[in-house]
């Protein structure tokens, strides 16, 4: 298949070799799990349990609330010790409503929904319902409820389900391992999703730096004519949905549209596997594979971790730190977020935990922009980071918006390459947040205004109607009066 070039991009130090040869190991069940009610984009789940309740493994403990939401399930059997605010893996470190589960060590399964024996005979709706009930969210990091994304096939005619195995973030190797060790499950899950979407074709895109994963997936896909496995160039951020879609199809997603508008839906490999487990086995999403790596970790590993495990337990499982880490990162080093503490739990979107040494972080105080232009050359979105940053620094958000700051995918390439260490993405995230806020405000004002206007016109209309009625009455009265006079006259 012909590939298409994508603009810009960088080649960071990948350091995948730290963990790539470590087979996935299963973490022994922790004694305590912390399950936040919001692990996804959208509305938080609503708890179904209270302190003291006994739950079984796989039992739903919080149900989805609203159109974009996802339920949570108990990763093991045990007793709910509290439903309370606890630290969450959000960079702000703010506490979040969390279900705390004390494991009883028996790991007893609850009654699970029936496996769907032949998913391809089932209706797309049945698959989507199962995915929704299983609490599956995008596991590449975005954590968007997968069932909602599977609905895209209803309004749009889809051509390709693109399975994202690019794993372009440095250090992370969990998708690589999942593809190497569970290729059949991933392909099966992908085919099930394609069926639910009504997409005739599945393309699995994997960066060329993962030859074993490419081989394993190609082998697993060889039985199916409509599943194609493609190696894509190693070029960060190849894993960005829009860019991967462009690399595979040559189609450029218009601003403010979705790749689905071009007939392409993108899902992550781990999500495909989770869908397969939910459909074929009836198992909800209870655990995920993630990478613990970085120069400060004694034994980097790929681990299958129950949702709700605290990061500190993972670090201990990996032999602890061999030096004081300079940064703890939730996710990959390019787009991940700073980890507020080791006490936060792993959630469904956690693809990696990194403990980086000062040399790896290579931080320095920002210097002046020397206008080297590299950030312009490498920006995969065709933006001009130095100019946008200059505007934002001077609080000219509108000017930055005109230059397209809202199109920025926050890939971090510009910050990474800036020889002056200017925190460009930080500026852009700030600006995007502020602009969104402004937008919301404006919309609110707009809405209040239309409401007020509607109210006013309603009153006007009512008044006019009243007047008209009055006039009619008056006219009628006159007529009557007139008629009476006439009558009188004629009498």
């Amino acid at each position: 298949m012909r590939l298409f070039p994508i603009r810009g991009g960088i080649h960071p130090d990948y350091r995948k070799e730290l963990a790539s040869e470590q087979a996935i190991v299963v973490l022994p069940m922790p004694t305590e799990l912390f399950i936040p009610l919001q692990q996804h984009i959208g509305a938080p789940a609503e708890t179904l349990v209270a302190a003291g309740d006994l739950v079984k493994k796989g039992q739903m403990i919080a149900r989805s609330q609203g159109a974009v939401s996802a339920p949570q399930h108990a990763p093991t059997s045990g007793r709910i010790s509290a439903v309370t605010n606890a630290p969450a893996p959000h960079p702000s470190g703010l506490a979040q409503l969390t279900i705390i589960l004390e494991a009883d060590g028996r790991d007893e399964w609850a009654e699970l929904p029936e496996p769907i024996a032949d998913p391809f005979a089932a209706t797309p709706q049945a698959i989507k319902d199962r995915v929704a009930a299983s609490g599956i969210v995008g596991m590449g990091g975005a954590a968007f409820p997968s069932a909602v994304k599977l609905n895209l096939g209803i309004q749009l005619k889809l051509e390709i389900l693109l399975i994202n195995g690019a794993e372009c973030e440095p250090y992370l190797t969990c998708d690589d391992r999942v593809m190497r060790e569970h290729a059949d499950e991933v392909v099966d899950g992908a085919r099930i999703m394609a069926h639910a979407l009504g997409a005739p074709k599945v393309v699995v895109a994997i960066e060329d730096n993962k030859p074993q994963a490419l081989a394993a997936m190609a082998r697993a896909a060889s039985a199916y004519g409509n599943v194609e496995v493609i190696g894509v160039p190693v070029q960060y951020p190849m894993g960005s949905e829009r860019h991967l879609t462009q690399a595979i199809t040559g189609r450029e997603t218009p601003a403010k549209k979705l790749t689905a508008d071009l007939g392409v839906v993108v899902h992550n490999v781990a999500t495909a596997r989770a869908v397969r487990d939910a459909v074929r086995l009836g198992r909800p999403l209870l655990s995920r594979v993630l990478t613990v790596s970085g120069g400060a970790v004694r034994e980097p590993k790929n681990i299958e971790v129950p949702i709700g495990t605290r990061v500190s337990e993972l670090i201990a499982f990996c032999g602890g730190f061999n030096s004081e880490p300079s940064r703890l990162v939730n996710g990959g080093p390019m787009m991940g977020q700073p980890l507020p503490s080791l006490e936060v739990p792993v959630v469904k979107g956690t693809s990696g935990i990194l403990a980086l040494t000062p040399e790896e972080v290579n931080d320095a105080a920002p210097g002046p922009c020397i206008r080297c232009g590299t950030c312009v050359t490498i920006c995969p979105c065709g933006l001009s980071p130095l100019e946008m940053a200059a505007f934002i620094r001077n609080d000219k958000l509108d000017a930055a918006a005109r230059l397209g700051v809202q199109d920025c995918v926050s890939c971090g390439s510009c910050s990474w390459i800036c020889p002056s260490h200017i925190p460009l993405v930080h500026y852009f995230n700030y600006a995007k947040g502020m602009l969104m806020e402004q937008n919301r405000e404006e919309r609110k004002i707009e809405r209040t205004k239309t409401l007020a206007e509607e109210h006013a016109t309603r009153i006007e209309r009512a008044a006019a109607a009243k007047q008209a009625a009055m006039a009619a009455k008056l006219a009628a009265g006159k007529e009557k009066g007139g008629a009476a006079a006439e009558e009188k006259a004629s009498a």
Binding site: P254, G336, L356, G367, V376, G382, P419
Partner: protein
């Protein structure tokens, strides 16, 4: 910006590249040509070079300290050394010391720090300085000498050199003209190019540096080698050098074909004057050139064409410095019109139209 940097967004890794490394690479790229030229022009050139670079560093330190910042960290970025170095390369090698010092005053406090320091200046500081001293001291600035290689017969020793550079004792030999200057003077006397070309050094000598001129104008091949080294190291890209040299060559060749009595050949233009130094080291200055590759192409073409025009029609034989400054002034405008096309948008910033054959039901 009000948000604190502690919750700073990623990335949590960074390229090893720094401003300092970039500047150091540029300095290394200049070393071979500089050594060769210092050897060719001997002690007076060495003294002038040291004075000019020293004065620029000193001026930088003063400016930074006046702004209340520590001088050491700013000096270590290497930009002041580079400015001084490029300025020295553009002076007549036997010019007196005060030319270097006055140049430094124009370059650092006036052309750089008055605009706000590194990254803020609109004009290339070294070229501002060169043009300023050229306009103010035209006689001294056009007193070229033929090469007097170190330790060769007739070359000034250290003591003579001190007299030349610091004592104002310019020897009589200082009457040589640069090739560009010679042809221009001859033309003004009514002697056609075809005749005067017989007397300029042949192309090989020009390429290797055996000719009169400023440090940076001689040994074109070593400058070229340094420029290629910078390209290989990806400090600069081909866009500016190629368009500068290319457009100069095309202009020269075209007009030479039309009127060989009046215009020198394209190749002559490429190998004479400061073409290579300008194309690889001066026009490529990050701060004062456009940031997008498309903008750099336009910028390079502008520099090449303007250089040719000034060399042929203006009062000065060499036009590179003027051309660069003129294009520096245009760089912000070029930047505005050559921004890349945003992903998913048209050149004018509208979202791309949806191809309604795909996607829609």
């Amino acid at each position: 910006m009000t948000t604190a940097i502690q919750t700073r967004s990623g990335p949590f890794t960074h390229t090893a590249n720094t401003v300092q490394k970039t500047m150091t690479a540029v300095l290394w790229a200049l070393v071979p040509a500089t050594l060769c030229d210092l050897y060719l022009f001997g002690w007076p050139a060495i003294l002038l070079f040291a004075v000019t670079v020293g004065a620029c560093c000193f001026a930088e330190a003063l400016c930074v300290m006046a702004a209340g910042r520590p001088a050491a960290s700013t000096l270590s970025d290497g930009s002041a050394v580079l400015t001084g170095w490029l300025l020295a390369m553009s002076l007549p090698p036997w010019a007196p010391w005060w030319i270097g010092v006055i140049g430094a005053v124009f370059a650092i406090p006036l052309a750089k720090h008055a605009y706000g320091g590194l990254g803020q200046n609109v004009f290339n500081p070294a070229m501002v300085a060169r043009v300023a001293v050229l306009v103010s001291f035209p006689v001294v600035m056009t007193a070229w000498v033929n090469p007097h290689p170190l330790f060769s017969a007739g070359a000034p020793g250290l003591a003579d050199a001190i007299n030349i550079t610091f004592g104002g004792k310019q020897p009589d030999t200082m009457s040589a003209a640069s090739a560009l200057g010679y042809i221009k003077t001859e033309l003004s006397r009514g002697i056609p190019v075809s005749a005067s070309m017989q007397h300029v050094p042949d192309m090989m000598d020009m390429a290797f540096g055996f000719r009169a001129g400023s440090l940076g104008e001689t040994s074109a091949l070593l400058i070229l080698a340094g420029g290629l080294f910078l390209m290989v190291r990806r400090v600069i890209s081909w866009h500016i050098p190629l368009t500068v040299i290319g457009s100069l060559f095309i202009m020269g060749t075209l007009f030479h074909a039309v009127n060989p009595e009046r215009f020198t050949s394209g190749l002559f233009h490429v190998f004479s004057g400061a073409t290579f130094l300008g194309a690889f080291f001066i026009a490529t200055d990050y701060v004062t050139s456009p940031v997008s590759k498309l903008g750099q192409l336009w910028f390079g073409i502008g520099v090449g064409v303007l250089t040719w025009i000034i060399r042929n029609f203006a009062g000065y034989p060499e036009g590179m410095a003027f051309a660069v400054l003129l294009m520096n002034a245009l760089a912000p405008i070029i930047d505005q019109y050559t921004r890349p096309r945003g992903f998913g948008r048209t050149r004018r910033g509208e979202p791309l139209p949806l191809n309604d054959k795909v996607g829609q039901k």
